[in-house]
């Protein structure tokens, strides 16, 4: 079967096999669906400690470095588990020597934190929302709003790449500042429209592209999921001429467990 409740086995370290950890859940007898497979298609099972458990599967230690399939398997297991129960995701790629070590090094010392996190995440899922500018539209706004930008653009646009370096930098600087102001305003407006619908949110801190507006993780009560999705669809329609919204999820609450970010 797919669950292991004993923590007293496998104390002899197998130098070739390890225990890949996906996340932590509140223990449940038939929690892991029969046939659920993880990395290397190994069966997913639970390693229990008191009333919590780690979601794990066995993995060969002597293997090629991480592959795309590993990432997909990690996220598939966690997202599937998140659809069944609250789950605290563990960082991708975490392997312990055996079940006993999972208990001794992870579940036992972290017990109080896990229980607390699991309570907070109960009945909730994560959506990732990214807003990006329709670059042509917003750049056109900037050009039209600032005569200096328009003039610099007029002077530099037909010159070769390496000509008028100073003017190009000045043009870019002006455009960049104007975009930054727009970004602050538009991000605030978008977040005002989104935050009333979510239990918590967290900036994802990536995506420094020219068209970046916001990139946030939203923690949503599962019962509100459809309403939130409909609201975001309406929001996307309302702003679509200037801003595109992209929604990924629902996924496991990766951004609400205090893991290290990109910073």
């Amino acid at each position: 079967m797919t669950t292991t409740t004993s923590t007293e086995q496998q104390h002899d370290l197998d130098p070739e096999r390890g225990c890949y950890v996906y996340g932590v859940v509140a223990f449940g007898d038939d929690l892991v669906p029969a046939g659920m497979a993880g990395l290397e298609k190994a069966p997913v099972r639970l390693v229990r400690h008191e009333d919590i458990a780690a979601v794990v599967s066995d993995i060969a230690l002597e293997r090629a470095p991480g592959r795309a399939a590993d990432l997909l398997a990690h996220s598939e297991v966690l997202d599937a588990m998140a659809g069944l129960t609250a789950v605290v995701p563990v960082h991708f790629g975490s392997v312990l020597a055996d079940d006993a070590m999972v208990v001794e090094d992870v579940l036992a010392p972290g017990y109080d934190d896990f229980v607390h996190l699991l309570e907070e995440l109960e009945g909730r899922l994560q959506l990732n929302l990214r807003a990006t500018y329709v670059q042509e539209t917003v750049l056109a706004e900037v050009v039209a709003a600032d005569p200096e930008v328009a003039a610099l653009r007029q002077r530099t646009r037909d010159l070769p790449e390496d000509a008028a370096y100073g003017e190009r930098v000045r043009l870019g600087e002006l455009v960049s500042r104007a975009m930054e102001l727009k970004r602050e305003d538009d991000a605030a407006v978008l977040m005002d429209a989104v935050t009333p619908y979510v239990a918590a949110w967290s900036e994802r801190g990536g995506a420094g592209g020219l068209d970046h507006v916001i990139d946030v993780a939203l923690l949503v009560d599962t019962v509100n999921l459809t309403a939130v999705e409909e609201h975001l669809e309406g929001l996307a329609e309302a702003v679509h001429e200037r801003i595109r919204l992209r929604l990924v999820g629902p996924v496991a609450p990766y951004d609400f467990v205090g893991g290290a970010g990109w910073a």
Binding site: P65, V90, F92, A97, R168, R246, D255
Partner: protein
């Protein structure tokens, strides 16, 4: 009409397939609690560099990119018509008013003031963005 079509059929909100590698990497990379692991499955070998990853760009570089993007705009080629439509209200008043006008436009749109009935699929930007962010 299936459930999926109902949920995702709006057209303006992009809902990528959940199994795309780029999105999976975005979602899980460096997220989740960090445990003192015995070994770590290395990320080396994953086609990370081809992914639309986060790129922090330094100032002058950024400026040149903005300049390049601005100069790529086909403002005049489009006859300026689109431009006028988009930003009509911004051309009145001073700089401060321009900003708040733009925000008000979004606010108005968000609260249902927008009445654009035309439906068109959101255009994808990923190719352009990747190209813009390279180097």
């Amino acid at each position: 009409m299936t459930q999926t079509q109902t949920r995702r059929g709006g057209g303006y909100l992009e809902r990528p397939a959940p199994s795309g590698l780029a999105d999976v990497i975005e979602v899980i990379l460096d997220k989740g609690i960090v445990i003192d692991a015995y070994v770590r499955v290395s990320l080396v070998g994953i086609e990370l560099l081809t992914i639309d990853a986060r790129i922090v760009i330094a100032s002058v570089d950024t400026y040149l990119r903005f300049a390049e993007a601005t100069n790529r705009l086909d403002l005049y080629e489009k006859g300026g018509k689109d431009l006028g439509e988009f930003i009509g209200d911004m051309q009145e008043g001073g700089a401060a008013k321009k900003t708040s006008g733009a925000v008000k436009g979004v606010k108005k749109a968000i609260t249902g003031g927008g009445d654009d009935e035309e439906r068109r699929p959101a255009r994808k930007t990923s190719t352009r963005r990747r190209r813009t962010e390279e180097a």
